[in-house]
Amino acid sequence: MKTLKTFYENIGLPRLIIGLFFVLLVVASLFLGFSPAALFSDVVRRWLMYGTLVLAMVPGIQSGIGLNFGISLGISSGLLGAVLAMEVAFVRDWNGLYGAGSPWMTLLLAIILGVIFAAIVGTLYGMLLNRVKGSEMTVSTYVGFSIIAFMNIVWLSLAFKNGELSWPLQGQGLRNTASLSGSFGGLLSNPDVVQRTQPEWLHWLAFRVGDFTVPMGLIIVFGLMCFFVWLFFRSKTGIAMSGAGENQLFTTSSGINVDRKRIQGTAISTVIGAVGIILYAQTYGFLQLYNAPLMMGFASVASILIGGATVRRARISHVLIGTFLFQGILVTALPVVNEVVEIGTLPEVLRIIISNGIILYALSKTKGENQ
């Protein structure tokens, strides 16, 4: 009985509800005759698609800035890197010159550019957050909104030559959604794309087992990202950063510069966000510009909270569990709901209620000790 109680306390009521809800949905979908393999390859795909963005929350929380709603800064940096890389690839005609190597080079360039932008922006952002200690979340939410609105103006004024990015016949402004099919879309996760564009010896990147799709490339990349973050928090710098987030007084007295650690944490979070959005676009097959990333920060925050993180502590396991549950519910809810009640928008409504409900719950747990 006692172990059951500690078990319950460890999990917490919201995770219990969400977990049971997920199980219920899975059982329902099986009863309704959906193919479990197809359903689960969708869950896994979405899990990995959002995983890196959620992973970006970990350094933010650990370094003490709380839930990083300002991840939009990283997302915008990543998107900027991606569109620049695609434009360079088009202007230099990488497809004609390098063939199968071209998407790889585009992806690499996109990540490099995104990381550089994110590192700069993230450092500045970290400096801002050091000046608003105690109100980081409120400020970062609106900084995030502002940067998306600002980037809207940027997207609208860029004049690119690549026809997949820019509106035809206008000479100015980028599309709302740009297809990545001629570039790095699905390179790590879509078996069809891999078979069409890549040589035989790379076909293991994404393959099918029956109905189940294994996005091997994406699993490896996401796994490596998680591993590096895990490793980082076992390094001297990482431990110092966790310390800075946990107890400022103790850390200061042991000679660690808390402000510097917070800036580092914010910058790393922003950089992972930039990589995250590129991996997201890679899996999704489209680059979503303008207001599409506006609420992505909220989804990431909700995911890690569902996984069991608090505004002060977060682990890699929280990222994995949280993203799996959150995306799992969203993926399985759609067919089930459509079969049962024929209201197509219900999963979207569920998403809004679950994600914001869990954030509210986490905030109420802090009892105002921290914003």
Partner: protein, 497 residues
């Protein structure tokens, strides 16, 4: 000499205190000139938006006073109003009666919601703003669940004009033409005056009875009010004036003239008073100068361009009276016991608790008042705009209201009626002219539209950051003062390099 530097200093501090507003005013003027829109269009648009939005912006002031910051939770008040509007339209009520019923349904809902929000905020002291923001999204989710699934899905509702064709969920837009559209705007001045007159008579009679029962003492003011209203009511029977009052819209020129006359009368009364009291002649300078200013302002209305604008714009009367009434309420509440308690709680919860104020209850009350006012504001908004966008009408309300208030120069801790009204004017001027200005400047109207969205987010981000920075710099001192009450003494500021 010292007099001169004094004035310079005053001007300097005025500029500094109002920097946000001044910067915004410059942007607005620039955008108007760039856009090349006719002034009739701009002024008419701004007045329409003042009618629609000011009430909601004014609803933000009381939570600021009570230390709850900018109330992002007003979305919930708007949701209460929209549920009521849906019920009233569904039941088929119309006109002003429909509005009264809407208010009757929306108010208890808003009280309940405000109470719950207040309770929740008491669990998250210091994080009210982020909580309110998330709460707004959360409430939006529940609202969608109600309107998309429960109405029609659980509660059987049969109305093909309101419900989606397969019988579950409410349609995207509900047309209010013919039922609630302009139901507040189109109330005639004559009716307002009549109702006001009877209300004053009734109140005075009650007061008179209380006076006879020795529970209340009638004052000169009571008789004065009765006299003035009776006079106005009597005058309204003169045919010319009756005709004038039977309309529901007031031409801006008339409103302008009436306002100047009222202001002038107040100054003349001041002059006469000071003459009777035999005050020194210097006391006359200000009233006389003001009179000259009013005369000049009136003369300005004869300028053809100004006259054209003043004749073009027509104001709905009742919404403006309601806005005025709310300003008066916000001002009056300061001098009541509740208002004083709110102020104390807003300054320091520990001080308030120490002096015997139930700070939690005061905060809940502030939230209830704000939520109710926001729901009324949303009713005014919807009846003016005439189409009820079921899933969109409430989503941006907190965003725009808060941005307006901040543009007027308010902050997280201080907000006044004046700032709210100036803010609404500036913010919506930019909203009206930005697309056209963007088109002239970049040959792309959408850039202007995105620019105004950027401004509305940016001004909130900037204001929140400045507030947090100020608070953060003050905090170490405050901790020494109250001995680290909130357990914050464990988080000192690290300032070594």
């Amino acid at each position: 000499m010292s007099h001169k530097t004094n004035i310079l200093k005053k001007v300097g501090s005025f500029l500094f205190d109002n920097k946000v507003m001044i910067a915004f005013a410059i942007i607005c003027v620039g955008a108007i000139i760039l856009s090349g829109s006719p002034m009739t269009f701009v002024v008419d648009g701004v007045f329409t938006r003042i009618t629609r939005n000011t009430f909601t912006v004014l609803a933000l002031i009381i939570p600021v006073l009570a230390g709850l910051g900018l109330n992002f939770g007003i979305v919930i008040g708007a949701v209460a109003a929209q549920i009521a509007v849906f019920c009233v339209v569904y039941w088929g009520f119309e006109g002003f009666n429909g509005i009264l019923l809407t208010v009757l349904i929306a108010t208890p809902l808003a009280v309940l919601f405000g109470y719950l929000v207040g309770k929740l905020f008491n669990r998250m002291k210091g994080a009210e703003m982020i909580a309110g923001l998330i709460l707004g999204y959360f409430a939006d989710g529940l609202y969608q669940l109600l309107f998309l699934v429960i109405i029609g899905g659980v509660i059987p509702v049969n109305n093909p004009t309101l419900i989606i064709s397969h019988g579950v969920g409410v349609k995207n837009t509900i047309d209010l033409t013919g039922n609630l559209k302009y139901a507040i705007d189109s109330v005639r001045m004559l009716d307002i005056l009549t109702v006001f007159f009877y209300a004053v008579v009734a109140i005075t009679v009650v007061k008179g009875i209380l006076h006879l029962a020795k529970k209340y003492k009638l004052t000169k003011g009571d008789f004065g009010l009765l006299g003035v209203t009776s006079l106005l009511f009597g005058v309204s029977y003169i045919p010319v004036i009756e005709n004038f009052l039977s309309t529901d819209r007031l031409v801006l020129l008339d409103a302008y003239t009436i306002m100047l006359i009222v202001l002038a009368v107040i100054q003349i009364v001041n002059i006469i008073k000071s003459r009777i009291d035999k005050q020194p002649a210097a006391a006359l300078t200000k009233p006389v100068l003001l009179l000259v200013l009013y005369a000049a302002l009136y003369a300005l209305s004869f300028h053809p361009a100004v006259e054209e604008v003043l004749l073009f714009v027509k104001l709905p009367v009742l919404p403006f009276l309601l806005i005025g009434g709310l300003c008066w309420f916000n001002q009056k509440i300061l001098s009541t016991r509740l208002g004083q308690n709110m102020r104390t709680v807003g300054q320091s919860i520990s001080v308030a608790n120490a002096s015997g104020i139930d700070s939690d209850q005061t905060r809940v009350l502030a939230m209830i008042i704000s939520t109710v006012l926001a729901s009324w504001g949303q009713i005014i908004f919807l009846q003016n705009i005439g189409t009820f966008s079921t899933y969109g009408a409430h989503t941006q309300i907190a965003q725009f209201a808060i941005a307006s208030l901040l543009v007027g120069g308010a902050s997280v801790q201080k907000a006044t009626n004046k700032q709210a009204i100036i803010g609404v004017i500036l913010f919506h001027t930019l909203f009206i002219v930005a697309p056209q200005a963007g088109k002239e400047l970049f040959n792309n109207a959408q850039i202007g539209e995105y620019f105004r969205v950027f401004v509305s987010y940016g001004v909130i981000a900037l204001s929140l950051a400045m507030h947090a920075w100020k608070k953060f710099r003050k905090e170490p001192k405050a901790e020494l003062d109250d001995g680290g009450i909130a357990g914050k003494s464990l988080e000192p500021v690290n300032n070594d390099g």
